[in-house]
């Protein structure tokens, strides 16, 4: 019986070809190493699984991975190299918004498919969206929207906001203000702090927030900024009587370094990897731990799912032709460790969700409690709104 699938595979592939399909991947591995090292491991796991199962359309999958130098200029050059020298079938990767947008724009110019794996910026699928670009992860807007129901339930009226001063923090703040004001008319925003990314002067920022006397705080800090903010806030008692919402705060990349400083009760989006018991996740977790002897971070899931997105698209299109790949990805339904997702035809955004929950630091180690899965499909604006934003 086992022979049959193998035989069909052989038939489909038209014999044993040593052909490979190349996927071009570029990312800021040295600039955002904490996120991207696990991301690369996830990617390699996916490639291994896909090729062990016979590859795609009878060919092996090969990921050609490149360092993009962390800035748009170098990234565009690297992408050009992948396109013209490596002749890749499609592009994927990128982390920061500006790099993602630049590569997305290049993809439209060179007419090649680009699956933006990690950039969170709303603009990549909306204002600056183009038909060659698809985005995997739940965007800034979606993750902000996921926190809104809990924020409304608390009925706090005085909100202060702190965010890293660049695209991601700015748009998280704008979305949060807009969505909360709609859901809870009369809410006041009493203070706003926008420290430069990676350079927060945490003591002064925390003191300024204390002076604003908020009931609740919305933060989109992450990485070193978040750690400094948490320690100063804990020391100075900012969080004692204040509810805090922190976008991305539950992602292992940013949560694990907090250890015994982990603040209690913060609402965050993240990834409680050890507690998700769905069969798809269990399977992913076991395979990842077997291969890498380490637990997955959020980046691992993103890298893994990005490669699978490419593989499913190639499979559905039965071709590496860009137009057919676009047609295949539009409305593509597929499975990820977070469950099924759809790449929406209207704006090329996937409906990948995120986990929303509260932080707890019992035992000197941060984890997420009271969490639930928020399906991305439920946190996107209506089609009409999206169509107005996309200027196609």
């Amino acid at each position: 019986m086992k022979l049959i699938p193998i035989l069909t595979l052989l038939l489909l592939s038209g014999g044993v070809h040593a052909q490979t399909i190349k996927i071009g991947e570029l990312n800021s591995y040295k600039t955002f190493a904490a996120f991207l090292e696990p991301y690369k491991k996830g990617m390699e796991l996916a490639v291994e699984e896909i090729n062990r199962a016979g590859g795609v359309n009878g060919s092996k999958l090969e990921v050609v991975s490149r360092e993009d130098g962390g800035n748009p200029g170098d990234a565009v050059r690297v992408a050009e190299e992948l396109i013209s020298r490596e002749k890749v079938a499609l592009l994927t990767g990128t982390f920061a918004s500006n790099v993602g947008l630049a590569v997305s724009n290049l993809a439209a110019q060179r007419k090649i498919l680009f699956i933006a794996a990690e950039p969170l910026t709303d603009k990549i699928v909306w204002e600056n969206g183009n038909r060659y670009t698809f985005r995997l992860r739940a965007s800034t807007y979606m993750q902000t929207a996921m926190l809104i129901p809990e924020a409304v339930k608390l009925k706090k009226t005085r909100w202060a906001i702190v965010y890293p001063n660049y695209e991601y923090g700015q748009s998280a703040t704008a979305s949060f203000k807009k969505l909360l004001s709609q859901a809870q008319p009369g809410v006041q925003f009493v203070g706003e702090q926008a420290p430069p990314l990676g350079k927060i002067d945490a003591g002064a920022v925390v003191q300024a927030l204390i002076d604003a006397r908020p009931d609740a705080i919305f933060s989109s800090l992450f990485a070193a900024d978040l750690q400094k903010f948490v320690r100063e806030g804990n020391l100075r008692g900012l969080f004692k009587n204040t509810a805090v919402f922190n976008l991305l705060g539950g992602e292992p990349e940013y949560l694990d370094p907090l250890k015994d400083e982990t603040p209690e009760g913060w609402w965050v989006t993240g990834y409680p990897w050890s507690e998700i018991k769905t069969p798809v996740h269990q399977k992913f977790l076991a395979a990842y731990q077997k291969k890498w002897k380490d637990y997955p971070r959020l980046g691992s899931v993103v890298g893994y799912s990005a490669i699978y997105s490419a593989a499913y698209a190639l499979r559905k299109a039965r071709s590496t032709d860009t137009e057919q790949l676009i047609a295949a990805l539009r409305g593509l339904e597929m499975s990820t460790p977070f469950g099924p997702i759809v790449y929406r035809a209207v704006d090329h955004q996937s409906t990948m969700g995120a986990y929303v929950g509260q932080l707890s630091g019992k035992g000197g180690k941060g984890r997420m409690v009271n969490w639930r899965f928020a399906d991305g499909a439920n946190f996107l604006p209506p089609f009409e709104e999206v169509k107005i934003l996309r200027k196609e």
């Binding site: 040295k30 050009e80 500006n98 724009n105 430069p196 002064a204």
Partner: protein, 605 residues
């Protein structure tokens, strides 16, 4: 702000000032004596943090701090003996290149040793809580820092004023040649100063771990802050550094306290620009003593031989024929090389013949790039016109900033250019409506007839080679002679009726214009422009290219640009630790060819 919060923010500022002072004091000491602008000082600070976090788990926080500082001190000792000692006699700023390479190597070494994840250190045992002051909670540990800063200041003051070693240091800072002539062993003096500076950097880093996680980005953040503090305070002046640290930390704390947190992006550079314009030698610095004799003389540039001119003509012709052989990636890479060759040549135009140091040349590159994007996408000019007009914006910027910069010399001039560059950068970063903020401008692609790689490459080749040829020609024109006269003997040049300052100002503006051409071509080759195009990194890259090629040659910077761009491209593709690979390559080149790549050709000739 209530009175209580004013007082607490002031106290916050004091704590930050102490941290800032520790790292700046080391940098200032090292510069004062050795004249080395130590780019790797931030890396030593970063290593202090990593050492301390790592040791704190084993021996506890309080033992980890001195151990980490001592460890970094030993490392500093090794760096000085094995590397810097060999290149003190090399052209000025070459040490900058070497320490920049060191920064790349140390960053990757830390990544290799401690991994990518941020490491938050423990709270300091015994000072782990907050205490009540001015009606608010204030971390006890920060109170310790507030005391430590002045203590170190007093210690350094006593060391410098009461010990024989301090006497020698002061003598060497004041007049290096004279100290040498009096028989002071400079080798060990330099080594000990560098080691002490390293200890201070390591101490600063180690003391910071209860407040900030050890992370790989801290080296660059710290080095730019420390440079600013040192220059604002006055180079080589320790009390000046303390005062400047205080001024800048308070300015930041109150920007945040008063609700202008976005201004913290740039406030230190505004302070620095203001100080340098009003008091060019820094708050407590003394004007540099005039060099004795004719100064650092440079061999005059000879006019290029007809053979050399023919060789360049053949090279350009070969480049123009290249599209016959390939239409692939080689053209993309070469477009980058040409753009950066012009950028490096324009930087060299003020660095070499005028000896006006610029750490902020990316401002003009970026102005050209942004102007191209804005004229094309917002003003809706045709692409060709946008490309042609954009460099004027850079020239105009250079004209304005240059007026201030040429009034200073040496590192002060360099830091003023850096301050202007950072102010321009932050304007591009914040001005969402015009520049697209941190995302930048997207969608600036060439007109259809230039859209193919071949067409755009050829146009870039034409424009960049013409611009470079113009710059080289200018160096050999009467204007160029006046410029070099002003560099080699300013007093004699003035006596001959040359307006040295005006000549330099003109050169600065021309260099800005040329960088703007490079920037505009860069913008349309990438289709997008974001603030990185005018960031510190771009300025540093330019310096590295010029230094690699050799500052005392005319053609070197072009080779340096080609080598550096190729190296970045090749290393990033083939090596995991590509930053270290670039760093090691640069170090090898510096040690083998201390006068730059172009000397290879000269030696053979």
């Amino acid at each position: 702000m209530s009175l209580s919060s004013v007082l607490i923010q002031f106290t916050n500022g004091l704590a930050s000032a102490s941290s800032l002072f520790l790292v700046a004091a080391g940098l200032s000491l090292i510069f004062g004596v050795t004249r080395v602008v130590n780019f790797a000082h931030g890396s030593l600070y970063m290593l202090g943090m990593y050492f301390a976090v790592w040791l704190a788990e084993k021996v506890g926080f309080w033992a980890a701090v001195p151990l980490a500082a001592a460890g970094v001190g030993v490392l500093g000792l090794l760096i000085e003996i094995s590397l810097l000692r060999r290149i003190y006699k090399s052209p000025e700023l070459l040490q900058l290149l070497a320490t920049f390479a060191l920064l790349l190597v140390l960053k990757d070494a830390a990544l290799w040793a401690w991994g990518a994840e941020d490491l938050l250190g423990p709270r300091a045992p015994g000072l782990a809580a907050a205490t009540e002051i001015f009606g608010g909670a204030f971390p006890q540990y920060d109170l310790l820092l507030i005391v430590l800063g002045p203590l170190v200041l007093v210690f350094l003051h006593l060391l410098l004023s009461r010990t024989r070693w301090g006497l020698l240091i002061r003598a060497a800072t004041e007049d290096r040649e004279m100290a040498g002539a009096l028989g002071i062993n400079q080798r060990w003096l330099f080594t000990s100063v560098f080691a002490l500076g390293a200890v201070l950097a390591g101490l600063g880093g180690a003391l910071q771990i209860p407040r900030e996680p050890a992370n790989l980005g801290v080296d660059l953040t710290v080095i730019s802050d420390a440079f600013v503090v040192v220059v604002v305070g006055g180079l080589g002046s320790i009390p000046g550094a303390f005062l400047a640290a205080l001024l800048i930390a308070q300015a930041k704390a109150f920007c945040i306290g008063l609700g202008f947190s976005k201004a913290t992006l740039v406030v230190e550079f505004i302070v620095m620009a203001a100080v340098l314009v009003l008091r060019p030698q820094g708050l407590l610095g003394r004007p540099a003593a005039l060099p004795r004799g004719p100064g650092a003389e440079e061999p005059p540039l000879s006019s290029p031989s007809p053979r050399l001119l023919r060789a360049w003509g053949i090279l350009v012709a070969a480049l123009a024929l290249l599209p016959l052989a390939t239409d692939g990636y080689a053209l993309v890479l070469l477009t980058d090389v040409l753009v950066f060759a012009l950028f490096a040549a324009s930087l060299h135009f003020i660095l070499g013949p005028a000896r006006l140091y610029s750490f902020g040349h990316a401002a003009y590159f970026g102005l050209g790039a942004y102007a191209a994007g804005i004229l094309f996408l917002q003003v809706k000019l045709p692409m060709e016109l946008a490309l042609a007009l954009a460099p004027l914006a850079a020239g105009l910027g250079a004209l304005v900033f240059g007026w201030f910069c040429v009034r200073l010399s040496g590192v002060y001039c360099a830091m003023l250019t850096l301050a202007f560059a950072q102010i321009t950068w932050s304007a591009a970063f914040q001005w969402d409506g015009l520049t697209g903020g941190s995302n930048g401008i997207v969608g600036a692609w060439p007109a259809p007839w230039l859209a193919s790689k071949t067409a755009y490459y050829l146009l870039t080749l034409l424009a960049c080679s013409l611009a470079i040829a113009f710059l080289w020609r200018a160096v050999h024109s009467p204007f160029g002679y006046a410029l070099r006269a002003g560099r080699d003997a300013p007093l004699r040049a003035e006596a001959l009726g040359i307006d040295v300052r005006a000549t330099q100002w003109a050169a600065f503006s021309v260099a800005g214009l040329a960088a703007g051409i490079a920037g505009a071509f860069y913008a349309f080759s990438k289709g997008s422009i974001s603030p990185e195009a005018m960031g510190i990194q771009r300025s540093v890259d330019g310096l590295v290219m010029v230094m690699l090629g050799g500052i005392h040659t005319l053609t070197g910077p072009v080779w340096g640009a080609a080598l550096f761009t190729w190296l970045q491209d090749a290393a990033a593709r083939n090596v995991d630790y590509w930053r270290a690979a670039i760093g090691i390559s640069i170090l090898a080149l510096v040690l083998a060819l201390p006068r730059g790549l172009a000397t290879l050709a000269q030696r053979r000739a």
